[in-house]
């Protein structure tokens, strides 16, 4: 020890770096008798944590050092967010510390720290981890085993022990659990002010012997009685870290007082510490030793010992072992700084929740208020300390209300959002807040109500742990893992690499890998491996973008993946996060030997969201993989919170739009044909319609767009009669009207719709006759332009007129085959035409969509009777215009067909119907005898059967591939240079594709791809699963569902029909009330006298008594007949869910009212008397007696229905009742008349007779009040 340097705390804090030091560098200086630690150097046990390259060991000081100082209890002087951790002071400076081999006497005595870790911390300078220590005063060392001293909780009052009669209780036993420190508002005895007193609870399994005595220590204590001790007050609470260290050991406390506390209606005896309380440190006993096994489980709770692998979200989520996660979500939990990555922790009383998620099984260690964590070995790594954030966010509150599996899931979602950057980094807090909000909203939309768990507060959950629901945990959880793209891509890569190394081991055949790095195998006739989202159990998060190579990709901050989707809506906002729950992962070009390997051997893990596993092998295989998804499966994350749809609508205000139709798309030619320069632009051939759309959305219309209330895909089209301009009907369609007014429905992804009127204005104006020759132009795009990808061949589009746009500038001067530059920022909307038949066919309200923006789907869904529109804008035109437009659109159909690039205009005449081409007519072509292929251009659609690489080409083009396509049961061969074009993502076996403008070679069923040919992938078959072409789009794009407003007629009672109503002396009072309960209900079949009752049904209610409340007092309101009908809401439609309950009513489904169903019951039983004895209806209907006059028993469903009737009345609206008071005589008279016994004497309520009942409209009342005020 001579050469050891004495360090001060100041030295460490000033240095500010994480270091580790020891008094002896070579020999173990263990001096305390801790049984668990013989090696004290933290570096001597590093192998326990799986090696992670990123982790760094703490820098060791290369000279022997010691630190002298005192370990103290937490105090207010050192502000630490964790509040209750030990302090270490050397007189000069105080820092937080944690200590291994803790002994009671160490508190307050001067110790010499022999080996330690120091970690700098922002708030208090640093944190000292004391690994090994000894007392400075060696004399005390001798006494350590000799006696057990006592430690008063409040030192200054030590002498006055046993002075108070009340504080005479003692507790001795095994400390089972400890609660975190919580604050309880208490009355201060001195100033009678309410103060917040901190305190914590401990649970002790105590011995029945009340008095603690030293003699009794070794007597056979039976620790069987469960006792709670509350450490109350600032000083007592400061013992929290000490008591925490004692969990699982024997303790004795004396000087306690008893108190009866009420927890959830039950009284509980709790011992409370007083000024005189004394803590007796643990003594050695054979009984109470802690189990040393790693996992010790008792029921649902148990202990777990393990190394911390990672801390996430400020320590809320702790990764323990593989698929073992510790959740420390409760804000109140006191966590030690020393819980760091790499430390060995012992968790006591933690919930073991083995949860089966769709992606795999996870063991969740859920911490509750009983859980205590002690660190057994400090981490040898330089990892950050756990610091509580005092900020309580709405997310943390939300998370606390969930069950453990849902908590884990929500935290994982929160971490996933980290991968997306929106806010500038200088607003860090704000950003994290909004991610919290985003997470909360997303979680709220996903987590079912069953995953919520009511919280009872610290006292309830600690003392009544078993009964407060802490026990009942959902074992299965169908929440899918939410993963950002980068984690997903990485995981797939890891998975493939693992497979590859496996193959390497198994086969050592390198030839199967030799080609893998090239794309040679890409179109090989091997099956691409397809993984369904159901198999992975993973939901993907990403943003859509078009990559520089023209491919559609889903990406996040660091990674991206190619996406194949049959239809892309044009209003996809690139900045929004999309959620993809339903997809197929296609892995192409895998060596054949790999295909048969089980792919999901390595399932997805939560850890793959958090920290990527490093790739075992690097750069050995570049397997392209892509996603295949439908429109419906790609949703904006928060579609109820759109911010730009308003902008969309605004764009339609007073707008002027051009219409065009895409007739062909030319592919992106990267590394184009030899001899051809690289083309930087992409082209689309479009037909400009000679009509412009003029929108005049008025303010009122814009202010009242329709909202879709629910996420139903069901939609109701608004049927609005369209006005046509001056006598369109009278004119024949040959003379074209100048203007057609139409109805426009604008949709955006956020389910909002706007219906407005618009005008189609004819551009040809005076030049009649030019009408039918719509102009064909070439639109030039830069390849990155998302518009290029979004436009579909055959689709109609709207473009807003802008004065500086070259499309618009030369609008009047456009002639055929002009090339027009298209600005990438130009906004386009897909357009759909439909024609209203109302004007011509009487009564028929059918709307026929004629042409859609997604023509591929129109072809695909031949068996689907009604397609849902999925265009951004749909125009409803009068039926008369159908002829006018179908001429255009038919023309377009023709134009879309054979059209040679060089001889544009001449070929229009020779276009054939698609059907003829589909039936493989190329056989009629002449056999080729020239150098270049000769033949017609064709367009057809078929299933790709195989893609073979060919060395000898049939024709003299650089056709390196032969695509075998099945078209109408005929095999067609298409040769061509397949390059990796944007449109070929996912191309291969099982693809259904449309081939546009491919050239016939003259040989039968043989074609070549030219540089103008375009391949569109419509769908893709997944292995052993139906193809993707499900017509499920439109979920995000629906017209609002129009729900008929529930209209409750206000039924006024007819003339009074009861003898009591004639009581003239009684003054009638009017009051508004709600029905609390139904006291009595007499139902019978209608009396023979028809004049007495005007009910449509066969039921009569001669007497009914309702307990009503007008807000100030409760009345018993008697009434009969129609008024009772009203209050019972018998005329209302029976809600559908009740029909489910009342099974038998189904057969009478022709009648929907409650009265009708009641009629059925009353008819059987003639007379039913229902009585309810309580003033409130209890849940179990225990107080209800139902008596019937018929011999038949009430069936179960009838009984149910009658009870439901009462509930229905209670849940009714506010009624306005005009009533007159009743006295006992009248009630007696009623009793006699109806032969019912009423215990009115017992029922101490004011009885009234209701003369008139009507429903109250609070708004009407408010208005009348206002009128009164204004007039006064």
């Amino acid at each position: 020890m001579e050469n050891t340097t004495i360090l001060t705390v100041k030295d460490l804090v000033n240095e500010g770096i994480a270091v580790t030091g020891a008094s002896s560098l070579f020999s173990s200086a263990a001096s305390h008798s801790s049984s668990e630690s013989t090696s004290t150097n933290p570096k001597s046990h590093p192998g326990a944590v799986d090696s992670d390259f990123s982790r760094k060991f703490l820098t060791p000081l290369n000279y022997p050092t010691v630190i002298f100082g005192t370990v103290a209890l937490p105090s207010e002087t050192l502000k630490c967010p964790n509040r209750y951790c030990f302090r270490f002071t050397d007189g000069d400076l105080t820092i937080c510390c944690d200590i291994l081999g803790f002994e009671f006497r160490a508190i307050g005595s001067k110790i010499c720290v022999l080996s330690w870790n120091f970690l700098p911390m922002n708030h208090s300078g640093g944190f000292l981890e004391i690994i090994n220590w000894k007392f400075v005063d060696s004399g005390s060392l001798l006494s350590r085993c000799s006696g057990i001293s006592s430690f008063p909780l409040i030192p200054s009052l030590y002498s006055s022990q046993n002075g108070d009669r009340k504080s005479r209780y003692s507790v001795c036993g095994v400390l089972e659990s400890i609660s975190p420190v919580s604050v309880v508002p208490c009355m201060d005895g001195v100033s009678s002010d309410s103060v917040n007193l901190p305190g914590f609870l401990v649970h002790v399994m105590a011995c029945e012997c009340k008095v603690y005595s030293r003699d009794a220590i070794d007597c056979g204590h039976a620790f069987e009685r469960s006792v709670f001790v509350y450490f109350c007050g600032l000083e007592a609470a400061s013992w929290h870290p000490v008591v925490m260290k004692l969990v699982g050991r024997n303790v004795a406390l004396s000087g306690l007082k008893r108190k009866l506390v009420y927890v959830r209606g039950d009284s509980l005896l709790v011992f409370v510490t007083t000024e005189n309380s004394v803590l007796h440190p643990p003594w050695l006993s054979k009984k109470g030793t802690v189990s040393k096994t790693v996992v010790d489980r008792r029921g649902n709770c148990g202990s777990y010992r393990g190394y911390v692998r990672g801390l996430y979200l400020k320590g809320k989520l702790v990764e323990m072992d593989e698929d073992v996660w510790l959740l420390l979500t409760d804000q109140i939990l006191n966590r030690s700084h020393s819980i760091r990555t790499g430390s060995l922790i012992f968790i006591r009383n933690v919930h073991f929740v083995n949860t089966k998620f769709p992606w795999g099984e996870v063991l969740i260690l859920g911490a509750c208020f009983k859980t205590s964590i002690t660190v057994e070995f400090f981490s040898p790594f330089e990892t950050s300390c756990l610091v509580d954030s005092c900020r309580q966010t709405s997310l943390s509150l939300y998370v606390e209300s969930l069950s453990f599996p849902a908590r884990l899931w929500t935290l994982l979602v929160r971490i996933s959002f980290e991968k997306f950057n929106r806010m500038p980094s200088d607003k860090e807090i704000l950003r994290s807040c909004q991610k919290d909000e985003l997470t909360k909203m997303y979680a709220e939309s996903r987590i079912p109500p069953s995953m919520f768990q009511p919280r009872g507060g610290i006292f309830t959950e600690f003392c009544m742990h078993e009964s407060c629901g802490c026990n009942s945990e959902a074992r299965d959880c169908n929440l899918k893992l939410v993963m950002p793209i980068s984690s997903f891509v990485h995981h797939v890569k890891v998975m493939l690499n693992e497979l590859l190394s496996q193959i390497k081991k198994d086969f050592s055949a390198s030839d199967c890998l030799s080609h893998s790095s090239s794309t040679w195998k890409r179109y090989n006739n091997t099956n691409p491996k397809t993984l369904r989202s159901e198999d992975t159990g993973v939901i993907l998060l990403g943003r859509l973008k078009i990559s520089s190579s023209g491919r559609l990709q889903l990406h996040d901050r660091t990674s991206s993946i190619d996406v194949l989707t049959p239809d892309l809506l044009s209003d996809r906002n690139a900045s929004r996060i999309c959620e993809v729950p339903d997809y197929y992962l296609i892995i192409e070009g895998i060596p054949e030997s790999m295909l048969h390997m089980p792919f999901l051997k390595n399932p997805f893990r939560c850890s793959s969201v958090l920290n990527p596993t490093p790739l075992a092998i690097k750069n050995t295989l570049t397997v392209p993989f892509s996603l295949s998804l439908g429109t419906a499966s790609c949703k904006h994350l928060l579609k109820h919170h759109p911010f730009d749809w308003r902008h969309d609508f605004n764009e339609f205000k007073e707008g002027f739009f051009h219409l065009f139709r895409v007739t062909h798309k030319f592919p992106i030619l990267k590394n184009g044909h030899p001899g051809m320069p690289d083309c930087t632009s992409v082209f689309i051939e479009a037909l400009v319609l000679p009509w412009d759309l003029i929108c005049t959305v008025t303010e009122e219309e814009a202010a009242a767009p329709n909202f879709e209330e629910h996420d139903t895909s069901q939609e109701i089209r608004p049927h609005k009669r369209c006005k046509t301009n001056n006598g369109l009907q009278s004119q024949s369609f040959l003379s074209v009207p100048h203007e057609i007014s139409c109805q426009m429905t604008i949709r955006c992804a956020s389910s909002h719709c706007l219906v407005a009127t618009a005008t189609l204005s004819n551009l040809t104006e005076n030049k009649s006759g030019k009408m039918h020759s719509a102009m064909r132009v070439l639109l030039e795009f830069i390849p990155e332009c998302s518009n290029y990808y979004g436009l579909q061949i055959g689709g109609c589009y709207l473009m807003k007129h802008g004065s500086d746009d070259s499309f618009c500038v030369g609008r009047s001067g456009i002639s055929n085959n002009d090339k027009i530059n298209f600005r990438p920022e130009t906004r386009l909307w897909s357009l759909e035409f439909s024609f209203d038949e109302v004007l011509t066919h009487d009564g028929s309200m059918d709307v026929h969509p004629l042409v859609s923006s997604q023509p591929s789907f129109a072809v695909e869904q031949q068996n689907v009777s009604s397609r849902q529109p999925c265009s951004d804008v749909s125009l409803l035109l009068p039926y008369d215009a159908k002829g006018l437009f179908s001429v255009f659109l038919n023309d377009l159909e023709g134009l879309n067909k054979p059209l040679a690039a060089g001889k544009d205009n001449n070929n229009i005449s020779c276009c054939t119907q698609s059907e003829t081409i589909m039936h493989a007519e190329p056989s009629r072509l002449l056999p080729s005898n020239s150098l270049f292929p000769e033949g017609n251009l064709a367009t057809f659609r078929g299933d790709v059967v195989a893609v073979d690489a060919v060395t000898s080409s049939v024709v003299d083009v650089s056709s390196s591939y032969c695509i075998n396509v099945l078209v109408n049961h005929q095999m067609v061969k298409i040769f061509g240079p397949l390059r990796r074009h944007s449109y070929l993502t996912g191309f291969g076996f099982g693809t259904n594709a449309t081939f546009y403008r491919i050239l016939g070679t003259g040989e039968q069923n043989s074609f070549v791809l030219t540089s103008a040919s375009f391949i569109k992938i419509n769908s893709r078959k997944a292995l052993d699963s139906p193809p993707l072409e499900k017509p499920t789009h439109g979920a995000a794009l629906c017209l609002p569902k129009i729900t008929p407003q529930e209209f409750v007629p206000c039924i006024l009672a007819g003339p009074a029909c009861n003898s009591f109503s004639g009581n003239e002396d009684n003054q009638q009072i009017k009051f508004a009330c709600k029905v609390l309960s139904v006291y009595l209900l007499v139902l019978q079949t209608r009396s023979d006298d028809p004049s007495e009752n005007e009910c449509r049904n066969n039921i009569d209610i001669p007497l009914a008594g309702f307990v009503v409340d007008d807000g100030s007092s409760t009345y018993l309101c008697w009434t009969s007949g129609e008024r009772a009908f009203t209050i019972l809401r018998l005329h209302e439609e029976l809600p559908e869910e009740t029909i489910d309950v009342v099974q038998w009513t189904r057969r009478y489904s022709n009648w929907g009212t409650t009265a009708y169903h009641l009629d059925q019951i009353v008819r059987v039983h003639k007379r039913i008397v229902m009585k309810c004895n309580g003033s409130q209806i209890d849940v179990l209907f225990q107080d209800i007696t139902i008596a019937v006059t018929s011999d038949q028993l009430l069936t179960k469903s009838e009984d149910k229905f009658l009870k439901w009737l009462i509930l229905n009345a209670i849940s009714g609206p506010i009624w306005e009742v005009a009533a007159s008071s009743m006295d006992m005589k009248m009630i007696e008279h009623l009793e006699r008349e109806q032969c019912v016994e009423m215990e009115t004497s017992r029922y101490n309520l004011q009885s009234v007779w209701g003369n008139e009942v009507c429903q109250v409209d609070p708004l009407v009342r408010a208005w009348s009040l206002l009128q009164g005020l204004l007039n006064s």
Binding site: R422, M423, Q434, M441, D644, W645, E700, L1269, L1270
Partner: protein, 127 residues
């Protein structure tokens, strides 16, 4: 200079909020009620609209209010005029959902309230 005292939010309708209006000033405390037309979680900016006029609301400081487009909300906060285009944005200090409110009735009550306050002021002056 920052205001030393927080003023009460004067209830107004959005129609009264036009550039030359008495209320269209930097730092004026207002209470506005209108239907939420759009809301961006990313920027925490919502747009409320009533009677053809809309107003941006910065909800950065609001917690525990869940925003649903189409619902009616009431915000109290300070008006901030963004200079280049003289656009107003309300820095909301509190907000709540007031679904079910009858806007016409509410407008009338604002009038009544103003009338009352005016009379009160006058009577105070007389004394």
């Amino acid at each position: 200079m920052a205001k030393s005292q927080i003023e009460p939010g004067v209830p107004i309708t959005l129609q009264e909020l036009y550039p030359s209006s008495l209320f269209y000033k930097e730092g004026v405390s207002l209470r506005v009620t209108a239907m939420l037309r759009g809301y961006s979680v990313e920027t925490a900016i919502g747009v409320i609209e009533d009677g053809g006029r809309s107003l941006k609301i910065n909800t950065q400081n609001i917690r525990d209010v869940s925003f649903r487009v189409g619902s009616i909300y009431q915000f109290i906060g300070e008006l901030h005029i963004e200079q280049p285009n003289n656009e107003a944005i309300l820095q909301a200090r509190t907000g709540r959902n007031v679904d079910g409110i009858d806007m016409n009735l509410y407008r009338k009550t604002i009038e009544l309230l103003r009338q009352f306050l005016k009379e009160e002021d006058n009577s105070n002056m007389v004394e």
